[in-house]
């Protein structure tokens, strides 16, 4: 139970953050641990939604919209449909080894150390105009945009080729 003094000091933003963080963490655990792959993919979508809401809290509304439409709308939905068509084969999972837990703890400590170096002031919401963003993408970062577009087209062709290999035989 939360003490009364602590509950009174929590502002609305912190409460929303805690709720979204709880949804994200529980969803992530269920993605890894749920028996059904279909439900795991569904929980990945919920994790993405929580992430998008966190982006909005940071002031990046456009990224949140893009994340929901492209990542959840395309990628996660693609996974869900593919897994639904996929006749799931039971795999015998190995028991958790000590090396796994040590790896996770070490990674967490290293990341915490890296982030601690960056420790600065509070986050101020950053409001960016879409016009500035578009001009930045098409003028300053046009080459990166071109490479990303080519990568998307290439991977699309590659995916179709891989998926049709069996039919060609």
């Amino acid at each position: 139970m939360i003490p009364l003094e602590l509950a009174l000091t929590l502002d609305a933003g912190t409460i929303v953050f805690v709720a979204l963080a709880a949804v994200a963490v529980v969803s992530a655990i269920l993605v890894v641990e749920h028996k059904s792959l279909v439900y795991s993919a569904l929980f990945l979508g919920i994790l993405g939604m929580a992430n998008a809401a966190l982006f909005t809290m940071l002031g990046f509304n456009f990224i949140a919209l893009f994340f929901v439409s492209v990542y959840i709308g395309a990628a996660v939905t693609f996974i869900i449909f593919s897994v639904s068509m996929f006749e799931e084969a039971p795999a015998v999972e190995r028991p958790v080894r000590i090396v796994t837990l040590v790896s996770v703890v070490v990674a967490g400590v290293v990341l915490a150390g890296v982030f601690a170096l960056y420790f600065t002031g509070g986050i101020q919401p950053s409001y960016i105009s879409y016009r500035d963003l578009a001009s930045l993408l098409t003028e300053k970062y046009w080459f990166a945009l071109l490479i990303a577009a080519l990568t998307l087209v290439t991977t699309l062709i590659e995916a179709i080729t891989i998926a049709r290999t069996e039919e060609a035989k």
């Binding site: 992530a28 990945l44 992430n51 996974i79 790896s103 996770v104 915490a112 963003l133 993408l137 069996e166």
Partner: protein, 101 residues
Amino acid sequence: MDTIVLFLSLSIVLFAIGLYGLISKRTMLRMLLAAEINFNAAILALVAFASQSPSPATGEVVALLATGIAAADVGILVSIAILMYRLKKRSDVYELKESRG
């Protein structure tokens, strides 16, 4: 407590969960989903750092490009998983050892 610490702590927790799934699971699609958790953690940290940057639009551009590329790699990996299942009738990554070359 500083706000960015909360976001970065959440990013660390998500990354740890994804890493745990990536190491401990052997089903190919399950490993893909765990890697996607890692991607979510990474992009959350990226956006949190971008909000502190003097030019947050640059971070926004990088996040947009990263999201697009992530959507592409999901297509590739799921296609490989489906092809592997068609060929071997299994989705165990240990079976891939026999497919080298």
